[in-house]
């Protein structure tokens, strides 16, 4: 008799526990902190890309070259192992959700510079199991800790923009050096097995400088204002002003990631 009661109890408890099995991960997901939003950031750095001005290949190259030199980015010939912080893609691929069949080919084939969007709600930060990538509260930059990254590449699966690159091999032999064989910048080189991406030149911002790409395009004739950088939470900043006055777009906004790289022109 007593045995039977216990069995009944076990059955019920088990059924309840089975329900819990579904609920536990759900609860975990629901409780997951989503605090890395714009309200939590004191500032939010943002970039405005002027599509008209970057149609000049010299402007695009200046931006890419400055980025590569500033961050010791390797040049790996195999496109499937290439490390890219800022790259050129065609309009139809970058804004796939904003094109339609009646658009003229020259519109679709326009060159667009793409980089990490330093999202307001970054999926890469949400999925990282070690907080090796995080949203910096002081200025909203999505940072990377190359020493903590375990190379699981979950962030690459989560990024809807393809903004992240993995070091499939040791990048150092592919980094540009000067005549004495020294790297062009003292920005730390990376090891194999970690993920990297654009950091909005966090190290230059600390020294009161603008991102290298923004500075470089200004040097090119006609490149002034091709890339504008500033604080989105400051209504008087140039980026805020431009975005208020000019029609603009951003990539895959319906996903709710809140990209902070904007495109005009």
């Amino acid at each position: 008799m007593e045995k039977k009661t216990r069995r009944e109890f076990l059955k019920e408890a088990g059924t309840a526990a089975l329900g819990l099995g579904w609920a536990l991960p759900l609860a975990a997901a629901g409780c997951a902190p989503r605090g890395h939003n714009i309200a939590g950031s004191q500032r939010q750095w943002a970039m405005v890309v002027d599509l008209e001005k970057i149609q000049d290949p010299a402007v695009r190259e200046a931006a890419q070259k400055a980025c590569a030199r500033t961050h010791n980015i390797p040049h790996i010939p195999d496109p499937q192992e290439e490390i890219q912080w800022i790259r050129v893609e065609s309009f139809e691929h970058v804004f796939e959700d904003q094109i339609h069949g009646a658009m003229p080919p020259h519109e679709l084939e326009r060159s667009v510079l793409v980089l990490c969007n330093h999202c307001t709600n970054p999926p890469c930060v949400r999925v990282c199991p070690t907080q090796a990538t995080w949203k910096r509260e002081s200025d909203g930059i999505v940072m990377m800790d190359m020493h903590r990254c375990i190379g699981c590449r979950y962030c690459m699966a989560a990024c809807p923009y393809g903004s992240r690159s993995f070091n499939w091999r040791d990048p150092r032999p592919f980094i540009e050096t000067d005549a004495e064989g020294k790297f062009l910048s003292d920005f730390p080189t990376r090891t194999r097995g970690v993920v990297e991406k654009c950091n909005f030149c966090a190290e230059r911002l600390r020294d009161g400088l603008e991102p290298a790409c923004v500075e470089a395009v200004r040097e090119v004739p006609g490149g002034e204002g091709a890339l504008v950088f500033g604080d989105l939470t400051d209504p008087h900043s140039e980026v805020s002003h431009i975005l208020r006055e000019t029609p603009s777009r951003a990539r895959r906004v319906t996903l709710g990631t809140g990209p902070n790289v904007f495109y005009i022109g």
Binding site: K11, G21, E92, C128, I150, G151
Partner: protein
């Protein structure tokens, strides 16, 4: 009891030797991957996960499926599974170990694996997966050891183990649910971001896991004096039939939603899988073979006469395992990366190194399984009245 694992005939040692060879092969290949980096794999900036994560996903299902014998036995007092339960728990232990190894070999910086524990991150599903898998391993080791020890002494298991057994049931469900959440929570990948992924994972797991258990039980029946019982095998076959049928239904639901709505991002992955997309069709033969296999196996499983034919059953089970392996171990992971966020399609095929590492991990898993089953068989054989 444990020493039985190291006493056996020539055939037993040959089996262990074979698994050992695979482990050695895998270790050698992994050594090369460790020194040169993941460049030795077929993965790329576009397809960042490959055969390792796919095998991990498949094997989480195998691990979770132990619940299909544990639940009827402990909750419904279904005595027929009495001799099957320990086999299920042993399989779960081996499968979880393989899962952990597949995650480990996929890491770019394996020496930093402890970072997941040093910097626990509740918002990452990978963190929860690690917690779930680690917990499931401990649960099965504990339950398996305690209940089997009691059985060996022909005594009832201690009372304190009961709540732990009950806990292991939802825990089994949770490991595969969290593994599905790993994928289905990504807004970047339309193919994975579907609410049915977790139910689908569970349905296919409850088909492939018990199928493997049937095969193992049939092997033990054939080569040892230990018989897990014909009725238990038949009942497992029925479970496989139900689970596989439900899985087909779930796949159908998924296909309808994607194809009827005709939204490009939802149709591309299925076109890539079954028709080929812009000339990229390397998975197409796999997928149609898997589909055909599924239809044939389910049809033969649904008919009681063929399902209960113990000579045919191993082939049906092998067919089910292969079909689910194609679904999860080949199609699911790679296709999530097609097309990439910039609309490009990159094909993926594992390299020799990846295949060798994969075989090594499987070799290790089956080595552990062989040792565990040897202990079980040894004790059970002694308990059979001569």
């Amino acid at each position: 009891m444990l020493e039985a694992a190291f006493r056996g005939g020539g055939r037993y040692w040959a089996l262990l030797g074979f698994w050992g060879l695979l482990v050695a092969l895998g270790l050698g290949a992994w050594g090369r991957q460790f020194t040169e980096g993941l460049t030795v794999t077929g993965m790329s900036q576009d397809v960042t996960w490959g055969i390792y994560i796919a095998q991990f996903t498949f094997l989480v299902g195998v691990a979770a499926s132990a619940v299909m014998v544990v639940l009827p036995y402990y909750l419904h007092n279904y005595k027929v599974f009495g001799r099957m339960v320990i086999l299920g728990e042993g399989l779960a232990i081996a499968a979880v170990l393989m899962c952990m190894l597949f995650i480990f070999v996929d890491m770019g910086q394996p020496t930093r694996v402890a970072n997941v524990l040093l910097h626990p991150t509740p918002n990452s599903m990978m963190f929860w997966d690690m917690v779930a898998l680690g917990g499931y391993l401990v649960l099965n080791l504990l339950i398996g050891a305690v209940t089997f020890d009691a059985e060996r002494r022909e005594a009832p298991p201690p009372h304190w183990i009961k709540p732990i057994i009950v806990l292991s049931i939802p825990w089994a469900v949770s490991i595969h649910t969290v593994t599905a959440f790993l994928y289905s929570g990504l807004e970047a990948r339309a193919f994975w971001m579907t609410a049915i992924l977790a139910p689908r994972f569970l349905a296919s797991a409850f088909a492939s896991g018990p199928s493997l258990l049937i095969l193992l039980a049939l092997i033990l029946r054939r080569f040892t004096r230990f018989d897990p019982g014909e009725e238990a095998i038949r009942k497992l076959a029925l479970i496989v039939t139900y689970a596989m049928t439900v899985n087909i239904f779930f796949v159908g639901v998924e296909l309808f939603t994607a194809l009827y709505s005709d939204m490009p991002h939802h149709t591309y992955p299925f076109r890539y899988l079954y028709l080929g997309l812009h000339g990229h069709d390397s998975l197409v033969p796999w997928m149609w073979f898997g589909a055909a296999l599924t239809v044939v196996c389910v049809t033969l499983l649904l008919v009681p006469r063929t399902r209960n034919d113990l000579r045919l059953l191993p082939f049906l089970c092998a067919g089910v395992i292969l079909a689910i392996w194609i679904e999860k171990g080949v199609g699911l992971v790679i296709t999530g990366f097609v097309p990439n966020p910039l609309g490009r399609i990159t094909d993926y095929a594992p390299t020799g190194v990846e295949v060798a590492v994969t075989l090594g991990v499987y070799g290790f898993g089956f080595l552990v399984l062989s040792l565990l089953y040897k202990i079980v068989v040894n004790v059970r054989e002694r308990m059979i009245p001569a």
